[in-house]
Amino acid sequence: MDNAIVSVTDLYKRYGPVVAVDRVSFSVARGEIFGILGPNGAGKTTTLETLEGLRRPDGGQAIVDGIDVRRDPRGVRARIGVQLQEAGFFERLTVTETLELFGSFHPAPLPVATAISRLQLEEKRHARVETLSGGQRQRLSVATALISDPPLIFLDEPTTGLDPQARRNLWEVIAGFRAEGRTVILTTHYMEEAQRLCDRVAIMDHGRIAAMDAPRELIRRYTPGTTVALNVLEGGAAYGTLPGVQRSETINGEVVMSTTDPVQTVDALMELARAGQMHFQQLRVEEATLEDVFLELTGHRLRE
């Protein structure tokens, strides 16, 4: 990738006998939102913290904005903004003071007021951190990543534990970072988040990257079908031979078909019903999601 801001080659990290990151390679283009999607323990956070210069890799190479993380971790930290998963704050400082303090750790910070307005924390500007709600703390956490005005921002599960409304708000903020030309690398275990927000997604499981591409491409490649499902009350058909259907199975009394041409498949089903050959209800047509991709690739669900 020519315009890569991050390039990772054969990154390897182990904790004792446990291999957390197993020879992972990827690169991230300048200006994109890159997601690392996977269940807890997949190695997402370790990968991120290695790129942030917080952990030393045991093997492989990671170049962040032209700097080898292993050679100069502090140089890397000067060019990035980091939001850590579950990290605490100095409870007795206010929002403004916290951002002033973290701004002082960087050579050319953004004005505190800018960071506050970007994260919609104006109302809580003078509130002590200990009084903030979960969503507000999370926004403050993202604000501390933004305060250094970095070209590259790392967000480790930025929306975990937020209610749907707060999550959508934060998505807008993160999409705004991309609009300003910043690059964002985030981890998540919400496939909806990856699908809606990310230009490209790496699906990670057991320390390896199982697949990596734009969400739409991943879905097209790994679950090339749309799901058509129905409850058959009477009669039936040779579902596998209907137009477009790749395979069919019965799950909990429900016939589930995977089809490349949902319009044709549904049309054929309706024809059979009108002809009186079968009687069904609750017809569902579902686009595949990253969840299906994940299931297809790893054999298990994202959250179990």
Binding site: L54, A87, F90, E97, L101
Partner: protein, 350 residues
Amino acid sequence: MTIVMGFRMYVRDRSSLFWGMAFPLILMGLIGLAFGRSESLTFRVAFVNPDNPLGVALREGLGQVPVFTMSDVPTEAEAVELLRKGQRILVIIVPPFGSTDPLRVFYDQARDQESRTALVILERFVAEANLRIAGVDPAVRIEATGVAGAQETRFFDFLLPGILAMTVMQTGLQGVTWVVTGYRERLILKRVLATPVRPFVFLTGLVARYAVTNIVQLGVIVLIGVAVFHARIVGSLGMLAAVALFGALAFVGIGFAVSTWSKTPESANLLGSVISFPMLFLAGTLWPREFMPAFMQPVISLLPLTPLVEAMRGIATRGDTVMPYLAGLAYLGLWGGVTFALAAWRFKWE
């Protein structure tokens, strides 16, 4: 910035305000209540005189003895009762008019030394009275001249520098351990590590914050100590502050080292207490170290708190310069340096 924010956090933290300022002052007040009586030397004497004119003259004379606080009690039984309760040290019973019986004196055996001193003063007073009544000029006389050698040290003068030294130690062993392990446990240190700031710079800021807050704390304790407890500081305040600052740095080092051995703030605090409390009681902080048995003295000399207490007390109560205490302070500095190195080596961010 770290220092400024640290100071703000400190001011907003009620518990650290309590431990840093209120607790030392309360302790000072309580110890003052317990031991402060010996501060001014007076003996409370009960005087029982039925009707003897000689007794009246005696009473008048005794009333002028500055160390005696006289009170008249009607009957012997009541006076002895007061003695038993420990409310008087001597009871003087004047014989009835015309009797040649001696003056009878009861003294408090429980406070042997004090009552013997009071008896000696009374005997000397009676001897003088006898000479006067006999009209004889004493052949041998004493002319006593007070020489202001070491300034008289009152109890609070003695206590205040000890309390200050204790506060310095507590900041390191209780404050630093609590805060550093707390920051680590809540991953605040990790958040700082994720910025380009050099860990060394941040930790130095943290240490400087403790040094600043310590001096402020000590200032408040000195002010209240002087205003409320009438403690006096003879020596140079600047020198005292400099020594306190030096001690604060050394104990912050020890506190950092302790915090590398504990995962949670609670266990760090406990470990800090285990180290600080024996030192507090042994090192001559609240009472002279000579109160401790002789076999403990070599151990006491090894404690890092001891040289700090001695230097601060020397400066505060005797107006010494720092010179005689340099060796002891160097020893304390060694503690600070070694523990800092140990802490730097063992320090973990998360």
